[in-house]
Symmetry: C2
Subunit: 389 residues, 2 copies
Amino acid sequence: MAMQKAPQAFPRPEYLRRLSAVRAEMERREADVLVVTSPANITYLTGYTSKSAYVPQGLIVSLKEEEPTFFTRRMDAPAAKHQMFIDSSRVIGYPENLIANPDMDGFDAIIDFLHDRALAGGGVGLEAKSISAQSVDKFKARMPQATIVDFANGVHWIRGIKSDLEIALMREAAANADAGMARAKEVIRPGVREADAAAEIIAALLRGADGKPSTDLSGFFLCASPRSATAHIRWSEDVFRQGSQINLEFAGVRHGYTSALMRTMSIGKPSDRLRRVHEGEVAGLEAALAAVKPGAVCGDVAAAFNSTMKKHGLEKESRCGYAIGIDWTEPTASLKEGDRTVLKPNMTFHLMLGNWIDDDFGYVISETFRVTESGAEAFSKLPRIMFEI
Amino acid sequence: MAMQKAPQAFPRPEYLRRLSAVRAEMERREADVLVVTSPANITYLTGYTSKSAYVPQGLIVSLKEEEPTFFTRRMDAPAAKHQMFIDSSRVIGYPENLIANPDMDGFDAIIDFLHDRALAGGGVGLEAKSISAQSVDKFKARMPQATIVDFANGVHWIRGIKSDLEIALMREAAANADAGMARAKEVIRPGVREADAAAEIIAALLRGADGKPSTDLSGFFLCASPRSATAHIRWSEDVFRQGSQINLEFAGVRHGYTSALMRTMSIGKPSDRLRRVHEGEVAGLEAALAAVKPGAVCGDVAAAFNSTMKKHGLEKESRCGYAIGIDWTEPTASLKEGDRTVLKPNMTFHLMLGNWIDDDFGYVISETFRVTESGAEAFSKLPRIMFEI
């Protein structure tokens, strides 16, 4: 029996529109065919979210065909037939003798296909950052007639402006993140083990809100005293104590689309230092959001944040945010001074004000927002407070 | 105040022993210095499990120094000082102007360091598979006097034979996986949403067993009817039904060490086909474990599995397992016919009998085991049954 199609996150015309934009970029870069290897870009162009990127895979977009062709390991092909909007005949599972084989891998199957389709002699776009040096070398060596075009972040930039359908998923994801933070406020108590609190918060994130569960778990970080200076520790085996500060960063996820959220909690009265930093950061956050409008550039938003922080006697060394969408960070626009990316409606950013100030103190707050016709819409409904427990 | 050290997963001599083995391999490969970039290898050599590999980082092992030096983003340095066994002065946070900068990144800071230490003119080992083609090119271009040595899986192979301390962590991780599977059996019921069951199972995995929580969540897959042919879908928004088959794959994790576990469940009586496959696979599993002993090779284990399956009229296309340890799969030994890796005590494998047979049917069962002095020790205490709900 043929694998049935999953309910699709988007209608077919949405995917075809995205593919048309990619083909226009291919023409600009003189690539007749593009091998998409970034997992988030594959999700964007097909709806596929199954986790098969542990082995070589590639989505092959040709200038001449409406639907792309996907190569993955044979055992992962059924999930691709199930989830991708394309015809199942366009999902090709390569055989098991290409796994854990020192001489050949899945990219050889893709190169064979390009030769078979007479596509190995023209411009061949590769996402070179997503694959190893050896793999890039293999494409060059096995297709000596081709002109290899590094597609760099070409597809990532196309993803930058979301459709209203994508925005709707990011709002749902944000509601799930809010549910996680609400649960955190309930379960973080003196004597509770950090791992047990993480278990409860993650369960709430996954159950989600409004009947829309999270479809994945993305990055999750619970950095509590005496580790508030750390940014990316999952959790520890320690227990919370009276006076503990807890920095939380996590996200809701809907069909790949991620809305991130950070808040700081304090068990008992926060220290004066913590309160002063919180006040400055919230003022900076509000100033940054007020600077968002179509036509402004990313650097303007960062400048509004930085100058407000300075008034409060604070500074943040790292950029104050970045483009966000499928699988969290998009490696394109940064909210930092000097970034000249022009803001347009439905660009989405994580205004990420985590500030790891020295070796024993850090503070976090953030908002995931979209650019509207006149300003910014933050997706979270949570207040911008430091939660006192 | 200096960042305090976390409780260490291993004593200092354990790390020094591992580093000595790496230095011996460096001498064999004629590398005076090695830049370790694989996150699991960095965990192995330092105890670091914080999630900072989203930006360039490298652990620099020199033939001349007992302790390595770690370069990471400035905001991630406190976590490294906290978790790594090395002196905090050996953790170097590179500045924020190397983030989201098209011209320079963290690898430039590492290359500068190698020049400063007069290490850029000899043999420089790189784990080329873990970094992009552009990054390898940068090392070559900025160190024209160096002989770049691709270290390939050199460190991964050293990780293959575990110490008793590592085995103890893998047993703890297996107990956590067992707790997750026990919870799955309780919560999977007709009418329950897959995402809600996943939330409960993951929470149980994280809480763990015997007072030892999981320190991370690793791969988690719940592939239920009509998706039992899929291997790597997280879960769906669908509900379980009477007659549903549920294929589960997940792991407990302790300080990076992962014990994976797969079991199939059936709501109500399984079909004859499912029962026949289950019986053949369990017989194959027992035959494979019986073939494990020091001096046998990986291919012997696979042959025992395959011949037993054949007697049951079954076959499995993919390899029947692989080396496992930190962060799940080790890209070294495979349990497949033709693999001549000789089994030695305290090698650990995931005997992974997931069998995605056609587009509408798959079955899973697995054991994580170690090679003992005379045979195999499976870490899970679960029976090798198909759970009927």
